[in-house]
């Protein structure tokens, strides 16, 4: 009798990336995030590191790998801003973990599913950042502006879909 377990399905569908892709794509996303808003200020609403974190998480389907990727990208993002190091690191670690956990249960190759994931996780990240800033750091002036966060989620989703298609080409099927 064949046993169909969560682990076996995950192992079958688990995808990996070359070391260069794993290192330089997140680095490139963080760099673009730093450079693009300087030329086009409206693009500050986007969060390219978040999109890359989510892509690697749902593609690898490994919660540990997702956590590490999220922490790596988030901490790199924090270092380049004036914020305390760890704000984005914690938020993106949780996004990576949750994305990988969900990615092993649902079909993440479908475009509609990807759009829903990007939109939902973008809102989740906004809530996580709010909790970290407000509760952990005690910044009382930090407010969650829902309309702005919904716009951010929509913008992230719109950019995430073509970026996911582009990054799909870098996958190594195992």
């Amino acid at each position: 009798m064949v046993t169909r377990s969560y682990m076996s399905r995950r192992e079958v569908e688990q995808q990996s990336f070359s070391l260069a892709v794993a290192i330089f794509v997140p680095l490139g996303a963080v760099l673009l995030q730093v450079l693009l808003p300087r030329e086009f200020h409206g693009l500050a609403i986007l969060d390219l590191p978040f999109i890359v974190t989510l892509f690697f998480a749902i593609s690898r389907r490994s919660p540990i790998a997702g956590t590490v990727t999220g922490a790596y990208i988030g901490l790199l993002q924090d270092v380049l801003t004036g914020q305390p190091i760890g704000v984005n690191g914690m938020a993106k670690s949780m996004i990576g973990y949750a994305g990988a956990s969900l990615g092993s249960r649902i079909d993440v190759e479908n475009t509609k599913t990807r759009a829903l994931l990007a939109f939902g996780f973008s809102l989740l990240q906004s809530v996580l950042l709010y909790l970290i800033e407000r509760r952990l750091l005690g910044i009382r002036a930090f407010h969650l502006m829902w309309l702005h966060e919904l716009l951010r989620a929509a913008a992230n989703t719109a950019v995430a879909l073509p970026v996911f298609l582009l990054l799909d080409r870098a996958k190594h099927q195992e």
């Binding site: 300087r38 500050a44 380049l80 190091i85 914690m90 973990y97 952990l136 910044i139 002036a141």
Partner: protein
């Protein structure tokens, strides 16, 4: 062991989060040294990251700058001559205004000297180019291409020709981070220009700039300029910060008002900045020379306005009474702007007198005696004024 194996993913996440939470707790402790906002280890991490990222930022900045420079300096040169002419006229006007203001400033300095107050002028600056930004809506930080090797230190003020940009936060050997005025962790001591009310200016979460420590005051109106007060020991006194944009009650901090300030500098479009590396009690020699030139120019213009001019029939200005007088100052520049038009013309105003041939000898309203005027430059008798009786 089964427990660990079963929950290894969750335990790993908890361990990562815990490590970062501890790191956060260490960082948010109040820094002992205000000039070092981060601890040594955090500063080291930031420096490594900046060292990695900066070369790429420099390359992209150079490419973008080259493209913009090529377009603006070689291709898009329409209306440049017209702009140059307008700017020269504007410069002439500004020089006259500057001299008038300089007199007030001299008086102010004398009073300050009497009170033992020492003014600090911008003594030395370092020009820098902006090569990067934080790229986040939660943090408004710029990266500039100068660092500690150029003499920069944390907490130095950063300005442009329009006003204040912010101050240096982290300074690395070849680059520095500028904390902009609109960052939520930024603050500056300011004074409202006309009402002289002192306040503290802060950045907000949404990237705006506002004053939040003042109660409602009917004297504060939108449009009032906001200047640095010098009280924060970071920004020299009198630098333009912005203008009051709106005044509204602050619902979260009653009874204070939220006075929103529109920054004098477009903080989203900063390309080049000046870092103030030193202040001094006296004006720089160059500034003093400029002031002296402007004062001489002002004196020449006043002379041209007050003294009767030599009429030159060949110059077009002579016809309408705007002939320029010879400047009395020896060191005045060669190019003299035309005197400003007379605000309240009277019978002594240059150009308002008829020629002598039109005058009637022995008339009742004869010209006043030419007191003090040299005979060679004696003006023609003024136009006969209406008799008082005739006006009744």
């Amino acid at each position: 062991m089964d427990f660990l194996r079963q929950y290894k993913n969750a335990l790993f996440l908890i361990a990562v989060l815990l490590a970062q939470a501890i790191a956060l707790a260490v960082q948010v402790r109040r820094p002992l040294d205000a000039a070092q906002p981060d601890g040594p280890s955090v500063r080291l991490i930031r420096m490594w990251a900046m060292t990695t990222v900066t070369p790429l930022e420099r390359v992209t900045h150079a490419i973008g700058h080259g493209a913009r420079y090529g377009w603006s300096e070689y291709i898009d040169l329409r209306h440049v001559r017209q702009q140059n002419k307008e700017l020269q006229q504007q410069l002439a006007r500004v020089r006259i205004e500057e001299a008038a203001i300089a007199e007030d400033a001299q008086q102010g300095r004398r009073l300050q000297a009497m009170l033992g107050f020492r003014e600090h002028y911008v003594g030395s600056t370092v020009a820098a180019e902006v090569i990067g930004a934080s790229g986040s809506e939660q943090s408004y930080v710029l990266t500039i291409d100068k660092g500690s090797r150029d003499g920069l230190r944390p907490d130095m003020a950063v300005i442009t020709q329009d006003g204040v940009v912010g101050k240096l936060r982290d300074v690395f050997p070849t680059t520095s981070q500028v904390l902009e005025l609109n960052d939520q962790s930024s603050g500056a001591g300011v004074v409202l220009a006309s009402t002289r009310i002192r306040a503290i200016l802060r950045g907000t979460l949404t990237g705006r700039v506002q004053i939040g420590n003042l109660t409602a005051d009917s004297r504060i109106k939108p449009g009032e300029p906001v200047l640095t007060s010098g009280g924060d020991q970071v920004y020299p006194r009198g630098l333009p910060v912005g203008v009051v944009e709106s005044i509204a009650p602050d619902p979260e901090h009653q009874p204070y008002t939220a006075i929103r300030v529109k920054p004098a500098v477009d903080l989203d479009r900063v390309e080049e900045v000046l870092v103030i590396t030193g202040t001094q009690a006296e004006l720089t020699p160059a500034a003093q020379q400029d002031l002296a030139d402007a004062a001489a120019q002002h004196a020449a213009d006043l002379s041209a306005e007050r003294l009767p001019g030599i009429h030159d029939d060949e110059t077009p200005g002579a016809a309408n009474g705007t002939a320029a007088a010879t400047p009395p100052a020896a060191n005045a520049p060669a190019v003299i702007p035309h005197p400003l038009p007379t605000l309240h013309p009277d019978r002594f105003t240059s150009g308002s007198t008829p020629p002598a041939s039109a005058m009637t000898p022995g008339a009742a309203s004869s010209a006043p005696s030419s007191q003090g005027a040299p005979s060679s430059q004696q003006p023609p008798p003024p136009q006969a004024q209406p008799q008082p009786e005739a006006t009744k």
